[in-house]
């Protein structure tokens, strides 16, 4: 029982850990941005049943929400090469994150669009906005505003889920942790510290989403 | 000795001094109506009487059960609440239970009344409020007036010594108000001790033994309703009456 916790390895690996954090954040930023864009496209196609995208998005959403992220990742990284599509680890990781988050945000944003009252659209129509303006300011913004907290949570979940990208050797934070513990034989300390770092990252991502929400979404359209 | 008595009652919400030294005595069988402007503290006073709101100073005594500041332990509260029934503006029936079960629940759970006996009580109480045939109906199958009468039956099933009613007709459609007031009138006739807040002034004048006018957290004026309406003693009450019509 006389185990001594030893965190003295930390300074030696600080640089690597920082790189891992940067990699994970990079995945999150790119995955989050593209995922939400896909989600907007999906939500719009599904809400107005734009053919052929609406039905296609329907299959896509169900497929990706009902299978594990890890399996999606393996299918992309290990499976696609048999179809002649060979992706680097980072490309596969990003693609998997974008597709996964895209499926979830499609459904989240769709719920927001459905909750937008029709009266607002008609009011805006009568004010002679262009269709595009109506969509942007009267439909999309209020919808995003409504579901932004749910969307933020989903981005955090996706960020946390990205730790399995270590399994295809994408050099994100968990990959770095695996590497360190194989060198220092301090597995518990290493994973404990890494877990704490993810906890901090989750807080950070949540704060960032909150700030983005305030600046991009909440501000009322200027008239 | 009064059945309900409060003394030096004070209540703060943060810095908002809502009750400022209330002294109120209610005799057994008396019907007391509390009136006053919005925010004058009527609901708060009523809610302190059964411990829904804690008090910051003073004492409350109901039929020998006392509630003091800092000494509101759970058993004292439970004791007090068995003597004080309450009916709310929003009915607050339990939506997952039938009318009969709503009425049976507390006797069974709190008083450990056997199911059969509780059911008899419930049937009797529902009959008392004119809803004998609605025993198995669920709240969402009842009109607002019917729901409120079930709520009254539910409170009565605990055989309270006093019944508190906080604007119990305010959430009702006008045509449903009278069926509820009718039940209250009948209870008053049977000698039930009632303390109520209402905006139905005509009804208050008709059934109350005592009218209490609250103003800025104090009992500003009180007395016999006919006398008070005939000759208000304070300018505030006079202007309150004036604002009614």
């Amino acid at each position: 029982m006389a185990y001594h916790f030893d965190f003295t390895f930390v300074p030696d690996y600080a640089g690597m850990l920082a790189q891992g954090v940067a990699y994970t954040l990079g995945l999150t930023v790119v995955g989050g941005t593209l995922g939400i864009l896909i989600g907007i496209g999906g939500a719009v196609s599904r809400t107005w049943n734009v053919r052929p995208f609406g039905p296609l998005y329907g299959y896509y959403v169900e497929l990706f929400r009902n299978t594990p992220f890890l399996v999606q990742l393996f299918l992309i990284f290990f499976g696609l090469p048999s179809l002649g599509i060979k992706l680097a680890e980072w490309q596969a990781a990003i693609l998997a994150m974008v597709l996964n988050l895209g499926a979830y945000s499609t459904e989240i944003i769709r719920a927001g669009l459905q909750a937008t009252p029709r009266g607002q659209v008609e009011a805006a129509d009568s004010l002679a906005f262009t269709r595009w303006q109506v969509f942007l300011h009267v439909m999309l913004r209020p919808a995003l505003r409504k579901v932004w907290p749910a969307l933020s949570s989903q981005v955090v979940i996706t960020m946390l889920g990205s730790s399995v990208c270590s399994q295809i050797s994408a050099e994100e934070l968990t990959f770095v942790a695996n590497f360190i513990q194989s060198r220092n034989f301090r597995a518990f300390e290493t994973y404990f510290l890494t877990t704490a770092m993810y906890f901090g990252l989750a807080l950070l991502v949540r704060q960032a989403m909150h700030a983005i929400g305030r600046h991009l979404i909440v501000r009322r359209p200027s008239r | 000795m009064p059945l309900v008595s409060t003394n030096r009652l004070h209540k703060f919400f943060g810095t908002n001094h809502v009750l400022r030294g209330i002294k109120l005595d209610v005799e057994e069988g008396e019907v007391v109506t509390i009136v006053g402007r919005s925010g004058s503290g009527k609901s708060t006073l009523l809610r302190t009487l059964n411990g829904l709101e804690s008090i910051d100073d003073g004492v409350i005594e109901v039929d020998g059960a006392t509630l003091e500041v800092d000494r509101a332990d759970a058993s004292a509260l439970r004791n007090l609440r068995q003597k004080v029934g309450m009916v709310f503006q929003q009915f607050n029936l339990f939506p997952h239970l039938s009318a009969g079960q709503n009425v049976m629940l507390a006797p069974q759970v709190v008083k450990r009344t056997p199911k059969k006996e509780a059911e008899e009580i419930a049937r009797r109480m529902l009959e008392r409020v004119g809803l004998a045939e609605k025993f198995d109906a669920f709240p969402d199958q009842l009109s607002g007036g019917q729901q409120q009468r079930v709520a009254i039956a539910r409170a009565l099933a605990m055989s309270p010594r006093v019944l508190l009613c906080d604007e119990i007709t305010s959430a009702l459609d006008p045509e449903l108000v009278n069926e509820v007031l009718g039940v209250v009138r009948q209870l008053a006739g049977e000698g039930m001790t009632l303390i109520m807040v209402t905006h139905e002034m005509r009804f208050a004048r008709e059934v109350s033994d005592k009218l209490v006018f609250m103003h800025e957290g104090k009992i500003h004026e009180s007395g016999h309703p006919q006398a008070m309406f005939a000759k208000p003693a304070t300018a505030e009450f006079a202007s309150f009456i004036g604002s009614l019509n």
Partner: protein, 216 residues
Amino acid sequence: MMTFSLWDIVRNLLIGGALTLLLSLVAFALGGATGLLVLFARIGKWRAPRALAQMHIELFQGTPLLLQLFTLFFGLSLFGLDVPAWLAAGLGLTLFTSAFLAEIWRGCVEAVPRGQWEASACLAMTYWEQMRHVILPQAMRLSIAPTVGFAVQVVKGTAVTSIIGFAELTKTGSMIANATFQPFLVYSLVALGYFILCYPLSRYAQALERSFHAAR
């Protein structure tokens, strides 16, 4: 080298799938029971249990499942315990599930209107009597749809336990993919397996949600 027929692949995956199902059921049942305890601590009156419950929830919701499994696996081995993969997997998923369910259920308890607490308090019920007879029955109705919905997350979460070596569906798939050199086929079948488990649950949760809203 061994050759695999399609039936060989499917048969092995079915065994892995059975373990995935078993692990999901165990994690969901134990996680539900633990989650109930966490819930009561979280919404109760006592300060210390409340803080602990909140910490539990934030910790397990705010960190990756994979690292929870690693930390648990290596943490327990510090006590000289030789932790088999199935135990770490079951324990880890149970804790993970308990945190999420406790939080989902807390939302449901808090969605019960305050008037229900007040009305039952006025009838002289104690806290536990109110809970048992008035609040929980209502919260339970609210919770069915999101709880079924979360079951999908549990099934998918089991895939992560493949990484600590539990031979469930994904791990079995990886081994077969390596042996057959047919990763696309094998992982597609693996994905299909999860889909077969999850899709009905998702649909059921949606249907519950809809019928609930229709009933209001």
